[in-house]
């Protein structure tokens, strides 16, 4: 099953990317594509709403890291919101929790962004 990705813009100009499904080998390309589209018009602030992501694997994580590098390379920034327990555990195991700021909800991620 592939990953479904929706994108929306907040009034403050932050792009919220909302993947749903499994962020794994099959799903990672869809997220990469959505992030690529979101940042092509210049510096961006991005929030990835992880609430609908049921499972992440190392390839899925790779796509999030690629997104982070793209966005920061473009003088923007990226925050993760609402990761479930599996996603949080994998972020901690891989010490990526030190690289990604993650927030309990999208609203929290949007505050002061």
């Amino acid at each position: 099953m592939s990953l479904d990705v929706q994108t929306r813009q907040t009034e403050a100009g932050v792009t919220v990317v909302v993947p749903s499904g499994r962020l794994d080998v099959a799903g990672a390309p869809a997220l990469k594509e959505a992030i690529g589209d979101a940042i092509k018009n210049g510096p961006s602030r991005l929030v990835i709403d992880m609430e609908g992501v049921s499972f992440v694997d190392s390839t899925g994580l790779g796509s999030v890291i690629a997104a982070l590098k793209l966005v920061r390379g473009n003088k923007g920034d990226l925050r993760l919101a609402a990761p479930n327990q599996q996603v949080r555990v994998v972020l901690e195991l891989t010490t990526l929790d030190r690289v990604f700021a993650y927030y309990p909800t999208v609203e929290d991620a949007l505050t002061d962004f």
């Binding site: 794994d24 080998v25 190392s58 890291i65 555990v89 994998v90 195991l93 891989t94």
Partner: protein, 113 residues
């Protein structure tokens, strides 16, 4: 994994089941990618999963190149987009076995759930 959740004893530890699923996804993706690298795309890969009491045991058998040199690879730097799969599996499992016999790779994943 769904079957394991449905048919396994109710006393299985949900976090351990989740981590076992992560390891399965990592080794499975590895086997499907590298296990077929030198052969046809549809080269057979054998996969077995069983639960004995609270011990989950999975095996994968493939005919890809040997991977001894990948086994002890440490968790890569946070900015790396690849190379975390085996490190994740090793961390979450009670045992990750690998054996090369002739042209055949056998992976053995064990975790108490």
């Amino acid at each position: 994994m769904q079957l394991l959740r449905e048919k396994g004893p109710a006393s299985l530890d949900e976090t351990s089941v989740m981590l076992f699923e992560s390891a399965l996804a990592e080794i499975g993706a590895n086997v499907l990618t590298h296990g077929r690298r030198d052969g046809p795309n549809d080269a057979p890969v054998q996969y077995k999963l069983k639960l004995e009491g609270h011990m989950a045991l999975a095996t994968f058998v493939d005919r890809g190149p040997p991977v001894h040199n990948h086994l002890t690879r440490a968790m890569p730097e946070p900015t790396s987009e690849t190379g975390r799969g085996l490190a994740i599996a090793r961390q979450v499992l009670d045992e990750l076995g690998y054996e090369r016999d002739g042209e055949i790779n056998t992976w053995r994943l064990v975790k108490r759930l």
